[in-house]
Point group: C2
Chain length 145, copies 2
């Protein structure tokens, strides 16, 4: 059986993926800029965006969401609490746990950041409906990974 030559489809996939990576690399610093614009650092903003007003999350949730350890999660939430963006609570059913929930100020800031993020760049708006639909479908498939 002859060795399989790389197919056209694989080459196309590699090319497309390469361009996505280039975009990713070129825009890596944007996340930090967005955070800085709101007086946050990237880690603190990640913690903020992982939280919710209605469903308080335990500290370990924050650590997982931020890919950091427990002591750093404490530090991140301290920063958010200092600014009145989140509130720690102790659920009576297990007093070892502390949960964290967004305050109204925190929700407002999350809303503002989300709105800012969702403002697509001109190059995206300039695309056709068909192209946008492909993007939406493709990235919906990629999301859970």
């Amino acid at each position: 059986m002859p060795r399989r030559v790389e197919g056209l489809h694989e080459a196309l996939a590699a090319d497309a993926w390469g361009r996505i990576w280039e975009f990713f690399l070129a825009n890596r610093h944007r996340y930090a800029s967005l955070a800085a614009a709101h007086g946050l650092n990237p880690g603190v903003m990640a913690a903020l965006l992982s939280l919710d007003a209605d469903e308080p999350k335990p500290m370990r949730w924050v650590a997982e969401a931020c890919h950091c350890d427990a002591s750093n999660a404490t530090w991140l939430v301290d920063r958010l609490e200092e600014r009145g963006l989140v509130e720690r609570r102790t659920p009576p059913e297990d007093r070892r746990i502390k949960t964290v929930a967004l305050t109204p100020a925190g929700s407002a800031l999350v809303g503002a950041i989300r709105a800012e993020v969702l403002q697509p760049p001109d190059a995206i708006v300039a695309l056709s409906d068909d192209e946008l639909d492909v993007l939406r479908t493709v990235f919906a498939k990629l999301a859970p990974e």
Copy 2:
């Protein structure tokens, strides 16, 4: 003149862009993992990938490429030089400048990292040629921004 209600196209653009962001956020830590797999930190890898074997770049180029200041660029290039991945040179025409170029070992590592990065995830390979072509076109348009 009635206030313009947000059109369907804009909503579609925002939706697509939102999903791209989600993907971006969910994969932020992958860059750090890739660097760590090669014994680098994210900043040092960014410096490495900004360099070239044939076109030596001045230190200030590294600083700009890495969105950092000059003293940090010195530190990043020191780390690369320690590992024999880059080489500093002083061009005779202006002895204030130091240029940095990849060594053969540096080029090899950049090649390995690039090859690894270009390996598309299964979800990408599973897309149709048409979908891949849209991705390629769209991200080519987004790149220069």
